[in-house]
């Protein structure tokens, strides 16, 4: 084996699977999927959802696993080893993961705070006012920073310090061990939430609203686009994570089956948690004597406003369920956060040969300082804008570029042979159609729809200056850093020139 192929590895295949599932299962599975399922036809949405899973998300996951595993590299090095001209394709998701970890850390910080607040339900009788006015002290505009919120800052310090202690070790002693402990805990939280959710009075009202199919919605193109974007965002593709993680797998691993395990585990989690979420919403609506549709929401509003309202109605058990729910958010958030940080750091280790520990030290200290902007009064507003631009425009763009480069530049047939090399379950013409046609077309449609929608209606009532400064500014920063990092020379050029696939 050549020196360029030496790479650390996960100790066990199960360690890799748990880490990949931990990365895929994030906050979106808990607070986004149940709403998407409800909004797009309930049980009927399962049809486009599973079609999207098998024709777009898992095929793209197979591409990323293959890139990382066969080229033994993080995203930029993997693309450079394929063709040095395309190194830049790997730097976009790398910079994208940086932008995400900066604000994701603050959401995990909120969840940590709420985990403690839920012990005595300290949000009081009006969780809405508590969250926006007392806890976050939200400013009127994204340019009005107000004062630093020390509770959020404390949570941020815990997140970044924790990440340093978990990840700065080797992959097997750090990320793998961490996921082996946290994923089972996440599973326990899932069981408690679902079991309690479905046994609450009125839970069936919530579940009826969630699962009763509305097949007329299947005729609406936006429902199909929603299915494709849900599976795409949910599986953590196009962020460089899966490329980096799979580079730690033994080279003769069965890529295809591993991708199916990750895809099914992620879907199983989000589908099951949605039963618990809507059970709780059904209970809340019944207690308040309003239709379930009036209490349904998603995102931070669901986690930090509506759920605390529901916990208030449950008395003592509310605090137990509250602790379980916010622990679930913390575990799901941390496993995703750790994977995003790894996806940002390893390209620098690969290209500039900076020691892993040094890189983690720099990023965790720098990340804490920069992300403290999210602990100000403008934090929630900036987060909302940056998330909208990064988590939609940027990720979709990366997905399109990845699919096009793999199919048109590297050659889909060559890549298919690579995928099938050690896989017992082979990919065939359907996979090729997915990567060359379905993924690019669906993502381009999604992107166009987003651009038209944003140009026409703006976003979230923010001013053009706010959207420009934080949203377009973030996209511009990703672009500029991508150009700079691509142009900087490799510390060891042989990493690219001497790499042989057959080694």
């Amino acid at each position: 084996m050549s020196k360029t192929n030496e790479r650390q590895q996960f100790n066990t295949k199960m360690g890799f699977i748990l880490s990949a599932v931990g990365s895929a299962v994030g906050l979106g599975n808990i607070w986004r999927f149940p709403y998407v399922l409800y909004e797009n036809g309930g049980g009927g949405f399962l049809i486009p959802y599973f079609i999207a899973l098998f024709t777009a998300a898992i095929p793209l996951l197979i591409v990323e696993y293959t890139l990382g595993n066969k080229f033994r590299a993080s995203a930029p090095l993997a693309f450079a080893r394929n063709n040095p001209k395309y190194e830049w394709v790997g730097w976009i998701p790398t910079m994208l993961s940086l932008m995400i970890i900066l604000y994701y850390s603050s959401i995990v910080s909120w969840a940590i705070n709420y985990l403690f607040l839920s012990i005595d339900m300290a949000w009081g009788p009006n969780p809405d006012a508590f969250y926006f006015n007392e806890f976050l002290n939200v400013s009127p505009t994204a340019f009005d920073f107000g004062s630093i919120n020390f509770k959020v800052l404390g949570g941020l310090a815990a997140v970044w310090a924790g990440t340093y202690f978990i990840c700065s070790h080797s992959v097997s002693k750090g990320i793998e061990k961490f996921n082996k402990v946290v994923l089972p805990l996440l599973g326990v939280c899932l069981i408690i939430i679902v079991f309690r959710g479905v046994t609450l009075d009125g839970a069936e009202a919530g579940l009826n609203v969630l699962f009763t199919p509305d097949f007329s919605k299947l005729a609406e193109p936006k429902v199909w686009l929603a299915a494709y974007s849900q599976v795409f965002f949910s599986l953590s593709v196009a962020m460089g994570i899966m490329i980096t993680y799979s580079s730690y797998l033994p080279k003769d691993s069965d890529i295809v089956n591993t991708a199916y395990i990750t895809g099914f585990a992620n879907s199983a989690f989000e589908f099951t948690i949605s039963i618990g979420v809507f059970g709780i919403l059904g209970y809340m609506a019944t207690q308040q004597g309003v239709p379930v549709t009036e209490v349904v929401t998603s995102g931070v509003g669901l986690a930090f406003v509506v759920f605390p309202q529901a916990f208030n109605l449950m008395g003592t058990f509310g605090s137990i369920l509250g602790v379980t729910f916010f622990a679930c958010l913390v575990f799901a958030g941390l496993t995703s956060f750790v994977s995003l940080t790894e996806a940002f750091i390893v390209p620098f280790v690969d290209k500039f040969k900076i020691k892993r520990k040094t890189m983690y030290r720099i990023v965790c200290i720098g990340g804490f300082l920069v992300s403290s902007v999210y602990a100000t009064g403008a934090g929630l507003l900036i987060l909302d804008i940056v998330d909208y631009f990064v988590n939609s425009f940027a990720i979709i763009t990366v997905g399109i570029v990845e699919a096009v480069v793999v199919s048109r530049v590297f050659g889909i047939k060559k890549f298919q042979d690579l995928v099938n090399k050690n896989s017992i379950q082979k990919v065939g013409s359907m996979w090729k159609v997915s990567i060359t046609l379905i993924v690019p077309v669906v993502l381009v449609l999604n992107l166009l729809l987003l651009i038209v929608e944003t140009v026409k209606n703006g976003y979230g009532g923010y001013s053009v200056a706010e959207l420009g400064a934080y949203g377009v500014g973030t996209i511009a920063a990703i672009f500029i850093f991508t150009v700079i990092l691509t142009r900087l020379p490799w510390k060891n050029k042989e990493d690219i020139t001497e790499f042989r696939l057959e080694d």
């Binding site: 295949k13 049980g43 699962f211 009763t212 199919p213 069965d254 395990i261 099914f264 199983a268």
Partner: protein, 38 residues
């Protein structure tokens, strides 16, 4: 709970957890076979 809602809930659970169990089982069988070959 409405029967139609129950049906779709069960379908979703079966596909996701059933798919996961099938893929994991396949994984275990393959690694067992590989070990035997070695």
């Amino acid at each position: 709970m409405d029967p139609i809602a129950i049906v779709f809930m069960i379908i979703g659970l079966c596909i996701t957890w059933g798919g996961l169990a099938y893929a994991l089982n396949k994984q275990m069988k393959d690694s067992k076979k590989n070990k035997e070959q070695e």
